[in-house]
Each structure stands twice: as C-alpha cells, then as structure tokens.
Symmetry: C2
Subunit: 297 residues, 2 copies
C-alpha cells in the first residue's frame, strides 16, 4: 500500500483531507497551493514539505490528491506544455477531487496515461467536517487499476464510496447532485424569505417544511443558517455558481433546457457580482429576505 | 359533538375525506359538486343526499367541509349576492380545505360571521391516500371557537395538526410549502432529465441524490415516477401552477423577487398549455427528459 501522499490545493477541503490522512497513519509528504502561504502554513502544521513546484510534489509522493478550483486550474496542474504534476509521474496515482467538468477528467486521464500514471476521479458530496473526520461521500470513476490502488486511501477519507464507471462519469453525477442541491437551496431561500416578508414565525415555517413536501436535505443543513444569517463558508456561493455552470454546459451539449438551473446560476452569479461569493451557499437568502443584501429597504 | 357533516367539492381529496368521515362513524349527510355526476356517484356510494343547491347542504349538515378548486369557486360557494352555503348558516361551522389565497379565507370568515357562522382554514399538506386513511397533515387557522368546535372532526381526518394563527395565516404557510415543493419537484425533473440525456443509470442517480445534498421529500415521492413516466394524478400540474401562482402573488405584494418560483410557475403553466395539466406534478419531467413531451426528438 502506498503510504506517501501529496495534496495539491489546500483550501477548505484539501487541507482537512491532508490532516485526516496524517491522523490515520499515512505520510503526508508534500503539499502545494497556488497561494504559497496556505501551503506553508499547512506544511508547518503537518511537518511536511511545502513545495514551490508541482514536479516536486510528484517526486515526494506516491499518491497525489488534487483539490483545485476549476477546469483552468486542473488543466494547469496537469499541463503537458510546462513542468507540472505529470513531470516524472510514471507509476504515480492522482486522485482528483475537484468539481470540474467531465471532459477535463477524461483529458487528464489521457495525459497521465501517456506518462505512465493513473488517475481516479474522486468527486466529493460532503463538506469540511466530513473531510476532517474521514467521513466523505465519494463518487469514483476511472480505471479498475486506479480504483484498486486508491482504495486503501479512499477508505481513510470516506465512510461511503460509490464507483460510478469510466472517467468522466462521476463528474457528471456530481454536477447533477450540485445542480439539484443548488436549486433546492435557492428555493428554500425563496420560501423562507417570503415567509419572513409575510411576518411568519420562521421556526414554525421550517418545522412545517420539514414535515411536508417542502422537506429537503438543504432545509436541514441551511435552513437555520438562512434564518440567522449565519453564512460561514462550508460551500461557497462562488462554487455553487461554478458547479451549476458545469451542469448547464452539459445540458447545452444535450440540447436540454433547464430553466430552474438557469435561474439558480443567475442567483449565484449575482452573489458573486455583489461581492458575496465567499458567503456559504446559504447566503443566497441575502437575495430573498426583506431588508437583506440587494433587497435592503 | 357535531355528527352531521356535508362535503362541498368531491374531487380526489373531498371524496376521500367524505369516505373517511363515514368510516369513522360520522354521518355524512350531504355532498355537492359543480359536476353533478360526481356528487351523485359519491352520494350513492355513501348513502347520502347529492344536493343540487348549496343551501341544501347547509340545511342538512352541522359542519360543512369545502374542498373547492380556486379563489373564484370559493367566492361563489360563499357568495353574499345569491343563494350559497351562507344561506341559513347560523350556528354552522365551515372547514375550508382548498388551497386558495389567504385574503379569500379572511373574506369568507367575515362573510360567515355576518350570518352567525364559524369558519376554519384547514390547509392540507398531504395527498389522496392520506385523505382516505385519515392521516392528513393539517395546517389550521381561524378563531379559537372554530378550532375547538372542529377538533373532533379534524382528529378523524388527520394524524398531525398544526394551529398556525388567525384566519389567512395557514393559507400563507400552505402557499409557501407548495411553492417550495413545486420548485424542488421541477428541480428534480431537471436533474433526472439531464441524467437521462447523459446516459446515466437513473436508479443509481436517484440513490446518489438520496445520499447527498440533492435529497428531498419529492425525490422520495416523485423520483421513480418521473423515471418511469408514471404520472397518475395525486396532485395535478394544474394545481401546482395555481399554488405557485398564489405564492407569487404574495411575493408581488411584498415586493420580493422569486426567480425560481417564477421559473417553476412557467413550467407548470406550460404543462397546462400543452394539455398536460391533469398529469401529476411529477409530469413536469415530461418537459426535461429527452424524447418526452415538447422535447421529443
């Protein structure tokens, strides 16, 4: 079993996955982030190398977990045109956990194969707490060889794993999960926002929602936060905008019209435009509650 | 305890509530419907009077349950300008269960008070099966006197009751419940529809949804139906359009913009325009699955 692990992209999720892996007895040998300070701080905490180049991560680890921002960042860290994670990557395994478009996962798998490396999609449907506790829900896709090799590490990170199929397939499912989650979140913000405007007791309203056809997972995770304006970031509104965008791109390719996903993307884009992109996704309630966000009156 | 009950509006919900009340030992003395045949058939089944006029219902019953279509129908059955349920209504109690706008409930309560009758809002957040089994979820509003008098009958109809406040308040909560439910339903149709277009295994996709932030009550009640195109009507798309409309009217009055509720109303209006209004609300999937409804290709 591979024991030396590197982590590229040590934001809220990546950093906590690194902590968890160290706690569970693996050697976290290298961390990297485009924001050098974030990598340095985490390296100090974990007693490992804060790499200043990507090939250094590849050299120091057997398995490299990537949790980068978006397709562009993914393309860059797996560049074939300059030094990247692929430099000297023969025999290495990359577990790619960012929410990006399916086609980028497929492309990265191809590029890795050319240098003799394996890749696995490890799409996460959980948040920071689960990353820290090793109780993530992982949707996995890629070759059987990659999955087999990754399994011991995946077990440390997750309590629930679902192998979806070949490369790109987990990213499709993930895009759909987040698309529906984002719509349900924006829907809840509309229901509670209008309830507030009507002067209803929101504790009562949330209870009634929970007992009826209005119930949803996001009611449990975000309802009270919306009411109390507690938008500490677990999953940012900017990420919600990006992920709904991935799903809408897939829909355009399939010539399927999705008016609700479109309206939801617009709400999260508006959050970003208003400088609220780093609020948690529950912050979309700032757009629908009277006297908040742009509706201030 | 009042034992003689009349039911006005014996569609899917009203008819089953009447059956349930009879089964639980009350005397269902009178039924009425603008579609006379529906009333006759049910009267034959229950061995009661199929009234041809509204005052006849009021004369034959102590408590009258109304489950009519919309605000216009409610206004008509409680008309002050012609013979209506209010004719000879002194001392009677009306339990009004239709999903209509809050202001109509308030208006009807006023009209009833003038002739010495009580009204209670009994907004239902359940469906046909629960109506038949007496396990409805009821949101109640009105005077304490009306609530107290209604309670023995409400107990026969529901397993869960929530007193919300004065007249109009339960209808507000109900409008919000259905608004959020309708959005979540249309959201699910988008997620599963795009999943189908992408060639994903929809059993798998529904399972993943259920284990993640995409989970919702409507996933449980409507997910499989969407996949299998089983749109037998429990709650019609036409009713979904109407109820989202009630919520949007409240939002306009409060000057709150609700883009998702608006997009959802448009989807259900489109269902009606396409002649699909009598499909269950799950039928909104006809608009988002490739090769179905208007997306036929």
């Amino acid at each position: 079993m591979a024991k030396k692990v590197g982590v590229v992209g040590v934001g809220r999720m990546g950093a906590n996955m690194a902590r968890r892996l160290k706690d569970s007895g693996l050697e976290v040998t290298a961390v990297y982030d485009s924001r050098a300070r974030a990598a340095r701080n985490l390296a100090k905490e974990l007693g490992c190398e804060a790499c200043s180049t990507l090939p250094q991560v590849t050299a120091l680890a057997e398995v490299i977990i990537t949790v980068v921002t978006d397709d562009a960042a993914m393309d860059a860290v797996f560049s074939t045109k300059s030094k990247s994670l692929l430099t000297g990557a023969m025999g290495k395994l990359f577990i790619n956990c960012a929410t990006i478009s399916p086609k980028t996962h497929v492309e990265v798998e191809k590029r890795a194969a050319k240098v003799g490396a394996l890749t696995l999609e490890g799409c996460m449907a959980s948040s920071i707490t689960q990353a820290r506790d090793g109780t993530l829900y992982l949707m996995l896709a890629g070759s059987e060889a990659a999955y087999k090799k990754a399994l011991p590490i995946l077990r440390k990170l997750s309590k629930s794993r679902r192998y979806i199929g070949p490369s790109g397939e987990a990213a499709k499912v993930k895009a759909l999960v987040n698309m529906v989650m984002n719509i349900n979140t924006a829907a809840l913000a509309e229901g509670l926002g209008l309830g507030a405007a009507l002067g209803l007791d929101l504790d009562m309203l949330r209870t009634v929602f929970s007992q009826t056809g209005a119930n949803s997972r996001v009611l449990e995770t975000d309802g009270e936060d919306m009411q109390k304006r507690d938008h500490e970031c677990y999953f940012s509104s900017a990420h919600a905008a990006k992920d709904s965008g991935i799903a809408l791109q897939l829909a355009r390719q399939q010539k399927i019209k999705l008016p609700l996903a479109t309206a939801t993307k617009k709400q999260y884009d508006l959050m970003v435009d208003l400088g609220l992109g780093e609020l948690d996704k529950s912050g979309v309630a700032e757009l629908t509650f009277p006297g908040r966000g742009k509706n201030r009156r």
